[in-house]
Amino acid sequence: MAGREATDGDGLPDIPRLDPGAVAPIRVEGLRKRYGNVLALAGVDLTVEPGAFHCLVGPNGSGKTTLLRTLLGLVEPSAGEVSVPDARLGTAFQRPSHYDQLTVADNLDVFGALADADAAWAETVLARLGLDVVRDRIAGELSGGYSRKLDLALALQKAPAYLLLDEPLGELDDVTKLRLLEFLGAYRDAGHGVVISTHNLGQFASYVDHLTIVHDGAVLLDTPRESLDVPDGELQELYVERILSAASESDGEG
């Protein structure tokens, strides 16, 4: 695995370790989703391994968010099978998804109770994401960075075996991005699966264990990172080339 190896030694509370072998993979077979005349997913096959950093990458409107929402059970497939193991899923959406009128601490309290979260773990999340300094602030008044961290903290309440995040770094400043990435890497290193939906692969390049490129509702490329003979810095280029090539093929067919 790429990225940070240790979760200890940084002065912050530890992330509890999870044995990836004890968690079943997420499997998707022949998944189709139609919204009226629009085919959002056109027969997707996918396996997400536990304990891996899996990037679902694709341009806007490619179907990756629909795919993520289907895994979460928020979208009913039109056809196909989705098998999510009886493991806890945590998620953060593109849009902020917390109670704006409540404080950070209240939000954590509510979602912690729903997740039956361990109090010590809730404090660990708070400290690791640097949210302890804003715990008494009203969530609706937080900056974009803290707002996103709060959503991540809510997703982490039940220490999910898989963390599914939709564009988790969107509109964040570089320092906040770096800290969030470090945290996600540490979370993966502790044995938890991290699934990222993004159109900006470059930001996650040094953490990716598995890459799935989605285009027009179909999987264009699905491969372990190690099978790609390109350095981290060229992953984004590889993705863009694949997309452009697929687009020109489509245009040619059209």
Partner: protein
């Protein structure tokens, strides 16, 4: 120049808000203008009145004379039992009870007394009943040789309009709470719904919301009750039957408002539709004037509204101190209405979940 640009912007905006503007500028005014057909009369001219034959000595012809004289200003309904008639008076099924004495048609009898009983708590009927007694008295004395003295008897104390209106105003608040505040509150938390659906279920979220807000009604209930006590109104808003009726009304209306909110995908259409439904409930629940006061069309609609029966239960239990058991069937009906309202709510939630 800048004004022209801004006006142009407003024009562009209106093109994208055609549906909302259609509602505000066409549908709503049409609903208000159309609602005028429901106000065809200012005084009840065909409110039901129970005509009770006192004993077997009253002939059919005597009954007919009495009924005919009442028909000028009300709608007489024959009752064979005074107890049943008085019970229906309490339930606002009739607004006066007339006892037909024997010997009305006997020319040998100089004078006969006839009683029109009204409910002192039915404040809006006080003045119409006075007019009714005068008209009936004049008509009967014109038609009969016997002198008929029509007495107006008031059951209980004559209640002032202010105290009569107290339970109605609380019911108006319940409707407003259900159709305006609840959808607003729900919409303000729309962004959290996806997370909640992952962590728990939409059913639990909506059930929690409805139950919590129903419980919150205890606060305005206590405020109304306290003010009523302070003002010396003699209205018991904490009567169990009233609490049940208010609670069930809120549950039913809250479920409908929530269903509209989900069905519209939290859109403007849903908010506007809820306002329209609120007006419908305010207009057709007999909140201030009882059903019998309205035009036949409006009365027919009101009699179909479960919330009208909830209002009668509220008035009966708060103004007249009647036990809730007196209204068991109607409370059961309102409870069924609340349960039935959960069906469109569930369907709207399913549609919402499938559509997102």
């Amino acid at each position: 120049m800048s004004l022209r640009t801004i006006l142009r912007k407003e024009l562009l905006w209106s093109r994208h808000r055609a549906l909302a503007l259609l509602f505000v500028l066409v549908l709503l005014p049409a609903a208000f203008a159309g609602a005028s057909v429901f106000f065809q009369s200012t005084l009840p001219k065909d409110a039901p009145v129970a005509v009770v034959v006192e004993d077997d000595a009253v002939s059919g012809a005597e009954y007919d004379v009495v009924a005919a004289s009442f028909r000028l200003f009300s709608r007489p309904v024959r009752y064979d039992s005074e107890a049943r008639a008085l019970r229906d008076l309490e339930r606002e099924t009739v607004y006066a009870v007339v006892s037909v004495p024997p010997d009305l048609g006997d020319p040998a009898v100089d004078r006969v007394n006839m009683t029109v009983t009204i409910d002192g708590d039915m404040t809006p009927y006080r003045e119409p009943s006075g007019a009714l007694v005068s008209v009936v008295s004049a008509t009967m004395n014109r038609q009969l040789d016997t002198r008929v003295v029509v007495d107006r008897e008031v059951r209980g104390e004559e209640r002032k309009l202010a105290s009569y209106l107290l339970p109605s105003f609380l019911q108006i608040l319940v409707f407003t709470f259900a159709f305006a505040y609840l959808p607003y509150n729900l919409a303000s938390e729309e962004a959290v719904l996806d997370r909640l659906r992952v962590e728990t279920s939409l059913d639990a979220v909506v059930a929690g919301k409805l139950l919590f807000f129903t419980g919150l009604l205890a606060v305005p209930l206590l405020v109304f009750h306290g003010l009523g006590l302070g003002l010396g109104y003699g209205v018991n808003l904490l009567a169990p039957g009233a609490i049940l009726a208010y609670g069930l009304t809120f549950l039913a209306c809250g479920a409908i408002a929530t269903a509209v909110t989900f069905a519209s995908g939290f859109g403007t259409t849903g908010r506007l539709l809820n306002v329209l439904v609120l007006f419908a409930f305010l207009g057709f629940s007999g909140l201030v004037y009882p059903a019998g006061f309205f035009s036949p069309l409006r009365r027919g609609v009101v009699r179909l509204m479960p919330t009208h029966y909830a209002m009668v239960v509220v008035r009966g239990t708060t103004l007249r101190d009647l036990p809730p058991a007196e209204f068991g069937t109607w409370l059961g009906g309102v409870a069924l209405f609340a349960l039935a309202a959960l069906v469109p709510l569930k369907l709207a939630m399913i549609a919402y979940e499938r559509g997102t």
